[in-house]
């Protein structure tokens, strides 16, 4: 198990360490560079020196992110079901969905601030806008991908439309739903940061902004590191959730992987 873990993440780990070392060396070789680009060690130092403030600002950002994800999931699932209702509703809703994604949310954020005030509400809206689309599209595709012969089998049993949805299509779409949720998780923290950038009482976004304005560049980098860790943690949480709720899916994938590895050793 440990070996397999290293086999999959090892190369990325080695590359990351090499890049960080290179970065550190470059900054140390030319210290005038440090004014604009702090070295990794300076970033770590800034993180530990400002930990109290960073921690305090992480909590509201995390809250906005998680609440936004919940709203986005509900909205995404609802839209997926609406898309799936009939070919007519699909043709009506799908183009509008895509158009909604062409709107630059960065431009929308200040407007949301004007409409909704400086509180948590508009931030949740921004996170939702970033996250609902991948969930809706992935789930709708999952619903559509049900095996036609399987639907035929259920019809031959006299199953109703709702029974087919409940017994076959919804459970079958869950792996796709989780793919969408994974993408949404990586967007979500960015969404909260964007929402805070234009104005907030507290949060990593506004903290980053004020640090930039006071030229505390290592602190900005330290905040970026925290943001990245937050995103990764959410991503991992979605993966964990998937494993817990879809044990069958994980089992069948491991099996398929083993079969592949067996039939072609070169894949390793």
């Amino acid at each position: 198990m440990k070996l397999r873990w290293f086999a999959s993440y090892g190369p990325a780990f080695v590359l990351a360490v090499a890049l960080l070392a290179l970065w550190e060396l470059a900054v140390r070789a030319d210290l005038s560079l440090a004014q604009f680009l702090p070295s990794p060690s300076m970033i770590v130092q800034a993180l530990s020196l400002n930990w109290g403030a960073i921690y305090e600002n992480t909590i509201p950002t995390l809250l906005e992110t998680v609440l936004g994800m919940f709203v986005a999931t509900a909205l995404g699932l609802l839209l997926a079901m609406l898309l799936d209702l009939s070919s007519w509703s699909r043709r009506a809703i799908y183009p509008l969905l895509i158009i909604s994604q062409t709107i630059p949310i960065v431009a929308l954020a200040p407007l949301l601030l004007i409409w909704g005030g400086i509180g948590i509400g508009p931030k949740i809206v921004v996170v939702t806008l970033y996250c609902f689309f991948p969930i809706a599209v992935a789930t709708a595709d999952g619903l559509e991908s049900a095996e036609p012969d399987l639907l035929k089998l259920l019809k031959s049993m006299g199953a109703s439309r709702w029974q087919i949805l409940w017994l076959v299509r919804l459970p079958g779409s869950l792996p796709s739903f989780y793919s969408g949720l994974r993408i949404a998780a990586t967007y979500s923290v960015t969404g909260a940061i964007v929402g805070e950038f234009v104005g907030a009482y507290q949060g990593l976004g506004i903290y980053m902004e004020t640090s930039t304005n006071s030229h505390a560049i290592p602190v900005v980098f330290a905040t970026i590191v925290v943001t990245a860790i937050l995103s990764l943690a959410l991503f991992a949480l979605v993966n964990l959730l998937e494993r817990l709720t879809l044990p069958w899916y994980h089992a069948s994938r491991v099996q398929a992987g083993e079969r592949l590895a067996y039939s072609g050793r070169f894949l390793r």
Binding site: E147, S156, M157, L246, Y249
Partner: protein
């Protein structure tokens, strides 16, 4: 009363402006407890015929009755099994077997009880808690067959259930099916490409022509029951096999 009676059933499909005949008017009968096979060249319309019998499509003309009932709402009156096992990967074997009872809204506890009983009776109890992904091809087909039987044990429509299996697995599945058929006293209509399979399993065989399909011939298989693979070497069986193969070769398009 026969289980199934088809009289003059025909079907055409519209392809662009053309009307493409798939089934010429044909008659077919399955008695109670009888095992009947349909053989024909690929693409001859056997699956369309099954869709009609299962109630997924309606014939253009002719009449069709199951147990004397000619109503067009036939879904649920047959146990239809498509070529692929189509097991639900998120359900364990026992949960897959009871799928039909879920459709009939049988309470889960009662359904589980019946599924387990059936699995035990036909030697699959050890696999009840497994997911389909961990089963071999032959096992999946057996589970799919039990799912069909638990939904409707009166009348089974089996569409080439063993077509994708290797020869040995196929033989053991055939024997297992014969045992199942005798235990539950089902009527079976069985589609196959394989003349030997049809001879080994059936009471009667309908031979169909290339599209548009009609019945070329009906033969009765006079081999003793219970059947076993050795009987295929008997002179009656060999003769019948040669006869059917030469009939089918003429129908097979290049």
């Amino acid at each position: 009363m026969p289980r199934l009676v088809l009289e003059g059933v025909s079907k055409s499909f519209r392809q662009g402006r053309q009307l493409l005949p798939v089934l010429q008017p044909l008659d077919l009968e399955v008695e109670q407890g009888e095992f009947v096979s349909l053989i024909g060249p690929s693409g001859c319309g056997k699956s369309t015929l099954f869709n009609i019998i299962a109630g997924l499509e309606q014939p253009d003309s002719g009449s069709l009755s199951i147990d004397g009932d000619a109503s067009p709402r036939r879904t649920g009156k047959t146990g239809y099994m498509p070529q692929q096992p189509l097991l639900l990967p998120w359900r364990t074997v026992e949960e897959n077997v009871l799928l039909g009872l879920d459709v009939r809204r049988v309470p889960r506890r009662q359904a589980l009880e019946r599924a387990r009983e059936l699995l035990k009776h036909f030697g699959l109890a050890d696999f009840a808690q497994h997911y389909p992904a961990t089963l071999s091809g032959g096992m999946r087909q057996r589970v799919a067959l039990l799912r069909t039987v638990l939904f409707n044990s009166q009348f089974l429509l089996l569409d080439e259930p063993f077509g994708a299996l290797d020869a040995l697995t196929r033989l053991s599945c055939q024997m297992w099916l014969l045992n199942l058929w005798q235990e539950v006293h089902a009527s079976v209509l069985f589609i196959t490409h394989d003349v030997r399979e049809a001879i080994l399993l059936s009471d009667r065989i309908y031979i169909m022509s290339a599209r548009p399909a009609r019945i070329l011939r009906v033969v009765r298989v006079d081999l003793e029951r219970p059947r076993h693979a050795d009987q295929l070497a008997e002179s009656r069986a060999v003769q019948l096999e040669q006869e059917l193969v030469s009939l089918l070769v003429k129908e097979q398009a290049l």
